[in-house]
């Protein structure tokens, strides 16, 4: 399973571009954009059989305006694709100065259980 492709596909109808790891353009970033990163761990059963792999997705919505409407679309799109929302939070207000806070930012954590069923030798 290509988790990155799954995420990009899930977010294709949100109306904001989604980038793995970071926005990497040369000019100013889009007014609203999404970045995401993932980690995963195997979930071994007692008989040493790999049944599932748990993916965690750290997804960030950056926007020059209130990102909440986009965040709601992200929430809905990810849920439809089978991702479980672990948390959602506003980021930055308490740690960044006004001059740094040009963009608003909402951060999500999602998890996804991939059914793999592989015998570990």
């Amino acid at each position: 399973m290509d988790i990155r492709a799954t995420i990009v596909t899930a977010l294709s109808g949100v109306g904001a571009p989604a980038y793995w790891m970071k926005w990497a353009g040369d000019t100013n970033p889009p007014a609203t954009y999404i970045t995401f990163q993932t980690v995963n761990r195997p979930d071994l059963s007692a008989d040493d059989t790999l049944h599932e792999r748990e993916h965690f997705v750290y997804l960030d919505v950056f926007s020059e305006t209130d990102p909440y409407p986009t965040a709601m679309l992200v929430r809905s799109a990810m849920a439809s694709a089978g991702f479980y929302e672990v948390e959602m939070r506003d980021v930055g207000q308490e740690t960044m100065s006004v001059t740094e806070l040009r963009d608003y930012h909402i951060a999500f954590t999602f998890s996804y259980l991939e059914d793999v069923r592989v015998q570990v030798v």
Binding site: F56, Y58, D60, T95, L101, R102, D103, T109
Partner: protein, 132 residues
């Protein structure tokens, strides 16, 4: 920029009733938290090394649900005027955006189960050593 492990999570039903009052829960919590701290250090990006070296397991204290420890970067332990660990974890926007480098949340997500197991085993080992 730290997460909290609560001792209550350890005291699962029957086990809770079996734990003697003189059990050193704080040491067990710290042992479990260190697993998460190690993962944080592995994931933390390194430039000066300041961020990585600031990751610590805090002292156990009373919380709403019993004894608890925090693991991560504690504001009071971070020397220097610029407190940037949250910027690293979450990144920031702006004309020159910095991408997120999650190292706190993944460490917890990947190692929380192992941490709980270690905490529980540490408590069981203490009980065994007392012949219980």
């Amino acid at each position: 920029m730290a997460i909290t492990l609560s001792g209550t999570e350890v005291f699962l039903s029957d086990l809770e009733k079996m734990i003697p009052s003189d059990t050193n829960v704080d040491a067990a919590l710290a042992e479990g938290a260190e697993v998460i701290a190690r993962e944080m250090r592995q994931l933390a990006p390194v430039k000066s090394g300041k961020l990585k070296s600031a990751i610590k397991v805090g002292k156990a204290r009373n919380g709403r649900n019993g004894r608890q420890v925090t693991v991560g970067i504690h504001r009071r332990d971070f020397s220097g005027d610029d407190y940037y660990p949250a910027y690293v974890e979450y990144g920031h926007g702006g004309p020159r955006p910095a991408p997120p480098h999650p190292y706190i949340r993944p460490a917890f997500d990947l190692k929380k189960d192992e941490a709980w197991s270690i905490v529980k085993q540490a408590v069981i080992d203490q009980m065994n050593s007392k012949g219980l």
